[in-house]
């Protein structure tokens, strides 16, 4: 017998449509609870797994919004209610003093990274979100969106904080209004996290999202280029420590943000949520500072322990001359990949001598690519066929290398014949 007929039978028994649901309803919930218990067994592992879904029904603060004191939250985060369920926090952070080793008044409003065109001249809008989950998907929302711009005196920060689900559309619209077509977004891991998530939220609320029209710079990518082989990881916290010389004190880890927001919704717990707002502020300020600091690391890579060959490769995409100069300045300490790049850039610059000398060093260490380049070099540039043949012999067997070997041998065989009449 299905539940509906069970329900209707029970309802007829009590002769009313009103009183019955109370009973039958708790029976349905009881049945589910009983089945869930039997499905999960009683062992510890299952209990651990279910920690995230503790029974909360007995908590009087459960879901009653009246028990959450909204005005004290707004006060605690120094924000104002701009709509039901939405707090805006606007702050000007004066560019005085330092963040770690970085002197804030030297902050640039338009830092320029290698190869950047006019996008660097746009207004740079630093953005970071805090979300209800870290696994993505349409059930995860951003409950806190922060944006900042740098002007001559201050970092101007605006944060939008949801105090319930209802105001999400209002928040997204308010956030979108802070943006204009003359902006570029700057984020940390925003390409794969914050922006796709925000796009999802705009879609879920049936709103057009502003992102297609806006350029976007994800600083994680340049940071990876410069430091992926130097640092244990490229998280924002590592960047603060290593690039800005700054350690956060009493920071609430980003991974605890979802629990902090849920805790506020369920039980009115305010303190952790206030710390999330602070965490987000710190993230955005660090992001703005890191953007400027990166340009310095590019100018003086050795001072920041940046990966010089990787930087040179990046520079070479827009300016081979600058890239080669950088490598030459560090020629003594280059790794093989750096040397190979220097050889490549030297050849492109027409400096065959430097290129050949680098290839010879590398070939002596068994670098196949360099051997092949030397073979080509001697075959086509110097005409030293004997040398070309020597390098050909060292190449591994393959269609291209066999072809080259045969051709050089042929040329060698013809060369004396051609010379004889002389």
């Amino acid at each position: 017998m299905d539940l509906k007929s069970k329900l209707s039978r029970l309802q007829t028994q009590v002769g009313a449509n009103v009183a019955a649901p109370q009973d039958t309803v708790s029976r349905l919930r009881e049945r589910i609870a009983q089945m869930e218990r039997s499905r999960r067994g009683h062992d510890k592992l299952d209990k651990l797994r279910r920690l995230g879904s503790r029974k909360l029904g007995s908590d009087p603060a459960g879901s009653d919004p009246n028990l959450r004191n909204l005005s004290t939250l707004a006060a605690a985060v120094e924000g104002e209610h701009i709509a039901d369920g939405l707090i805006r926090i606007a702050r000007r952070i004066p560019r005085r003093g330092e963040l770690g080793t970085f002197v804030l008044h030297t902050l640039s409003a338009n830092p320029r990274l290698p190869g950047e065109g006019t996008t660097a001249d746009l207004r740079q809008v630093y953005i970071d979100t805090e979300t209800t989950g870290l696994s993505g998907g349409s059930g995860t929302l951003a409950f806190l969106v922060g944006v900042a711009v740098v002007d001559t005196e201050a970092i101007e920060l605006t944060q939008f904080l949801l105090t319930g689900f209802g105001a999400e559309a209002t928040m997204l619209e308010a956030f979108a209004e802070t943006l204009s077509p003359a902006d570029r977004l700057v984020s940390y891991n925003g390409k794969s996290y914050d922006l796709p998530l925000l796009m999802t939220r705009f879609r879920m609320q049936g709103l057009p999202h502003p992102f297609d029209a806006l350029p976007h710079l994800d600083l994680l990518h340049p940071v990876r280029r410069l430091f992926a082989r130097r640092w244990v990881d490229c998280r924002l916290l590592s960047l603060e420590q290593k690039l800005l010389g700054f350690n956060r004190v009493d920071d609430l880890p980003g991974s605890e943000a979802p629990a902090a927001w849920f805790g506020y919704l369920r039980r009115g717990h305010q303190a952790p949520l206030v710390r999330v707002v602070e965490h987000n502020r710190q993230d955005i300020v660090s992001l703005a500072v890191a953007h400027s600091a990166l340009t310095r690391a590019i100018d003086r890579p050795q001072d920041f322990g940046a990966d010089i060959p990787s930087l040179a490769r990046w520079l070479s995409e827009s300016d081979e001359h600058q890239a080669r100069a950088l490598l030459q300045a560090h020629a003594d300490s280059l790794c093989d990949a750096g040397k190979r790049l220097l050889g490549h850039l030297s050849r492109r610059a027409g400096d065959w001598q430097q290129a050949a000398s680098i290839w010879e060093t590398l070939a002596a260490r068994g670098c196949i690519d360099s051997m092949e380049r030397l073979a080509k070099y001697h075959e086509h540039v110097t005409g030293n066929l004997a040398a070309a043949q020597r390098y050909c012999e060292t190449l591994p067997v393959g269609i291209a290398s066999d072809h080259r070997r045969r051709r050089v041998m042929q040329k060698l065989a013809q060369a004396p014949a051609r010379r004889r009449p002389l």
């Binding site: 017998m1 299905d2 539940l3 509906k4 329900l7 309803v25 349905l28 919930r29 049945r31 589910i32 609870a33 009983q34 089945m35 869930e36 218990r37 039997s38 499905r39 999960r40 067994g41 009683h42 062992d43 510890k44 592992l45 299952d46 995230g52 879904s53 503790r54 029974k55 909360l56 029904g57 879901s63 919004p65 209800t132 989950g133 870290l134 696994s135 993505g136 998907g137 349409s138 059930g139 995860t140 319930g164 689900f165 209802g166 796709p196 796009m199 999802t200 879609r203 879920m204 979802p258 629990a259 849920f262 919704l265 369920r266």
Partner: protein, 808 residues
């Protein structure tokens, strides 16, 4: 025998000639046969409305007209009806859905979602669409989207695919939870195609129905209302299953217009080689013999085996006969899961081209993979269901000449039942495919997933249970949050990842082979079957090869095993105590005719269905030697009790009638245990389910005592603490035989089981009665000890007596 021999076509037809030969030479082994006459094709012209580009593409592939069922499908779909097409293998099913889908993609730029149960089938389908596409250069883009789709290709599939081909698991975990990324796709989604629909039954089908409810919900969000086109192999209730899967009325098309040669089916029981122990020759030897005869006669053959290992063994035997000379191309090939996709594709091509004479396969070839036409199909063992048997037999069949199928029975009880009751198999319609999408736990899982995808609003419906109550339950557990008339997802998690469509219980165990020091995962075991299969000391079989469980890490969900060469298998002894919680249905039979008040009269028999609570303890295990089935030892198992709330059917006999029918309660008890064993086999067969989907127990129904087969091979009663209880000392002795739904909450088996209550008992009676053993065997009432002859009465006779009482 359902068709006399004189109705057969002349023996010049090679498959017919082989059938005649087998019948004359091995008459005693053939327990039943069936001849399906040849059918001519029925055709219809290409529909007028068909786009000219599509017509050209079809002509390019030699298609000038349609079969009538293809034309009927076109008409039904174009009329805006959800449509299910049920026709045999190789009858041109794919065109039934490709035509309307391509037409609409070409003329209206609409999109379609194709869903296949496996990745391999999805890839086949894309290849097929590509072929049709190339012919007319239609420019319709079809892509697969599954776990193998590389990350950088996914965006292109989402935004540019006109036809996206996927599987239910991917739809559930990869597409629906990320629907916003698919917004464009869902906005123009016009058709959803579900092929191999018959594979969506039981737990899997119940999950899939809910995944489709979620799909429909997402489509509504994007203002689309796609039409469903479903295809199925033969089952008894295609329209009903389709309707339950998509929660809407579905028009069924089941008359195939494709021509078909005659089909001849033989049921084959290997000869008895040891009459004392009732041991028969192996199915393997018989299968090989028949397949060899077929190949020698130049007939293209397929052999189906039940395990990958058996595929390899049979292939070796066939190759020993036909591929001795390595200079010639191979005539025999194996096909099974576990091969690389490229190998499988190459094999399929050879099969289609006819350069292979005999292929040995697992069920991997049962689903729609195109391998061309074959003459002979040999089934090494009963596939477990009537529908599954016909699907495999359908692999052999040509349009111009006849085909032969031979079902070779193994020694397993179900096989022996089928083979000894040919009229049941031959006369039965295929099974009903059943699902229970409103099973509370499955529904709850998908309500969680759906709430994540899109907040529910007050008054929304999802399934047939009270959604508001279920959401309230989830709110109590902090999973959702009610605000402003909506239920919002409220957890830092991705619920689809913790819901597996292929089972209802959580936390699969992995089986890890530690032979030789390495650690290799060789299998996964469901949580619910772990206690009875991977206890320490168990012999765990993978592809018929034995491993021994050395250590079970219950909390870590791991079983560590090593290879062994044991000549025995192990069988868990479970103590299942059941308590009846609520009786929903009751049937009283054989009431005392004198009693004027039916409530006071005492019926001889009552059968009931309802909810039960059971506590299961796996206390030990038996070691049983192969072939002789003798008990060669015992071991203890120390595992936590399993508790389950589920549904069951139970049989009770009036205590007075029972005491009157047996010399002792001990005999009655043995009879109940044996009857339960046989009824379990028959119930599993009738319910189109695996035997492990159903549990059985004998107890008092009040969890006071329960019965089990003890170390002496006799039934014994154990009390609440596992202490022995003397049946003779009980005041009231009402042994109750339970067959229960072996999933938490039940998956809808017990109601149809109750409807079939009489047939189950009748079937079990026939099974035991017709068994050739003396006192009982694993083929009828379960293994008995060699010492049973000294019992003084036959356990088999006792079981028959109980079955007699139950069929009053």
């Amino acid at each position: 025998m359902s068709s006399p021999a004189e109705h057969m076509a002349p023996a010049t037809d090679p498959a017919q000639a082989l059938a005649a030969r087998l019948r004359s030479q091995y008459a005693a082994r053939i327990t039943g046969e069936l001849v399906l006459p040849a059918k001519a094709g029925h055709y219809a012209p290409l529909p007028d409305a068909l786009d000219a580009r599509l017509v050209e593409a079809l002509r390019g592939r030699g298609v000038e007209r349609l079969y009538t069922h293809q034309a009927a499908a076109w008409a039904s779909v174009r009329a805006g009806q959800h449509t299910v097409i049920v026709t045999p293998t190789a009858s041109g099913k794919t065109l039934c859905y490709n035509l309307p889908v391509l037409q609409s993609a070409l003329t209206e730029k609409t999109k379609a979602l194709y869903m296949f149960p496996t990745k391999a089938l999805a890839q086949d389908q894309v290849a097929e669409l590509m072929a049709l596409n190339d012919g007319g250069r239609l420019g319709v883009r079809a892509f697969t989207f599954d776990g193998d789709t590389p990350g950088d290709a996914r965006k292109a599939v989402r935004t540019r695919g006109d036809i996206v081909v996927t599987n239910p698991d991917m739809l559930h975990q990869g597409i629906l939870p990320h629907h916003t990324k698919w917004a464009q796709f869902f906005e123009s989604l016009r058709y959803v195609v579900i092929d191999e629909m018959h594979s969506y039954r039981g737990v899997f089908g119940s999950h899939v129905a809910n995944v489709l409810r979620r799909l429909q919900r997402i489509c509504r969000f994007y203002n689309s209302d796609p039409l469903f086109i479903l295809c199925s192999a033969t089952i008894a209730n295609p329209a009903e299953l389709a309707g339950e899967l998509i929660s809407a009325r579905v028009h069924a098309i089941s008359d195939s217009g494709a021509p078909q040669g005659a089909k001849h089916l033989l049921l084959w029981n290997p000869p008895v080689v040891n009459p004392d122990l009732g041991i028969r020759a192996s199915a393997r030897s018989q299968t090989t013999r028949i397949a060899k005869m077929a190949v020698k006669r130049g007939l293209k053959s397929i052999v189906f085996a039940q395990s990958r290992l058996m595929v390899e063994v049979l292939t070796k035997y066939m190759k020993d006969a036909f591929d001795k000379d390595p200079r010639h191309p191979a005539r025999v090939a194996a096909y099974r899961g576990g091969y690389l996709p490229t190998e499988r594709r190459a094999m399929e091509k050879k099969l289609r081209e006819g350069s292979i004479d005999c292929v040995v396969s697992t069920s991997a070839l049962e689903l729609g993979v195109d391998i061309g036409a074959l003459d002979v199909c040999v089934l090494n063992g009963y596939p477990g269901t009537i529908a599954g048997t016909w699907q495999r037999l359908g692999r052999a069949g040509r349009r111009q000449r006849s085909a032969l199928g031979v079902l070779v029975a193994s020694s397993l009880p179900l096989d022996q039942y089928i083979i000894r009751n040919p009229e049941f198999f031959l006369g039965a319609s295929p099974e009903q495919a059943r699902i229970d999408p409103d099973q509370l736990l499955i529904l709850l899982d998908h309500i969680r997933c759906a709430a994540f995808e899109l907040p529910f609003r007050d008054g929304d419906r999802f399934g047939k249970q009270d959604l508001g109550e279920m959401l309230a339950y989830l709110q109590e557990h902090g999973v959702v949050h009610h605000e402003g008339g909506q239920w919002h997802w409220m957890e830092d998690s991705y619920p689809a990842n913790s819901v597996s469509l292929r089972s209802v219980a959580e936390g699969n165990f992995v089986v890890i082979d530690t032979t030789g020091g390495a650690q290799t995962v060789i299998a996964e075991v469901d949580y619910s079957s772990a206690p009875e299969t991977i206890y320490e000391g168990a012999i765990y079989m993978v592809q018929s090869a034995p491993w021994q469980v050395e250590h079970l890490d219950w909390t870590g969900r791991k079983a560590f095993v090593t290879r062994t060469h044991a000549d025995y298998y192990t069988d868990a002894i479970d103590y299942t105590r059941l308590k009846i919680l609520a009786r929903d249905k009751l049937d009283k039979l054989g009431s005392d005719p004198m009693g004027s008040d039916p409530n006071l009269s005492s019926p001889n028999l009552s059968v009931a269905q309802g909810e039960v609570h059971l506590v299961r303890r796996i206390a030990g295990y038996k070691k049983i030697r192969y072939y002789t089935h003798e008990n060669i030892g015992y071991g203890n198992i120390d595992l936590p009790d399993q508790e389950m709330h589920t549904t069951a059917v139970w049989w009770q006999v009036n205590p007075g009638a029972l005491d009157a029918s047996f010399d002792s309660r001990q005999q009655a008890l043995d009879g109940f245990l044996g009857a339960g064993y046989a009824m379990h086999i028959v119930a599993a067969m009738r319910m189109l389910s695996e035997p492990r989907d159903i549990g059985r127990a004998v107890g008092d129904g009040n969890a006071e005592w329960f019965a089990t087969v003890g170390a002496n091979g006799r039934g014994q009663l154990l009390g609440k603490q596992g202490e022995a209880v003397d049946p003779a000392a009980l005041q009231r002795f009402t042994p109750t035989l339970f067959l229960y739904d072996n999933y938490p909450g039940g998956i809808g088996i017990s109601e149809p089981l109750y409807e079939n209550r009489a047939a189950v008992v009748t079937g079990a009676r026939a099974l035991v009665n017709d068994c050739e053993c003396a006192h009982g065997c694993p083929g009828c009432i379960g293994p008995i000890l060699a010492s049973d002859e000294v019992r003084g009465y036959s356990p088999k006779a006792a079981a028959l007596q109980v079955l007699g009482l139950l069929s009053d």
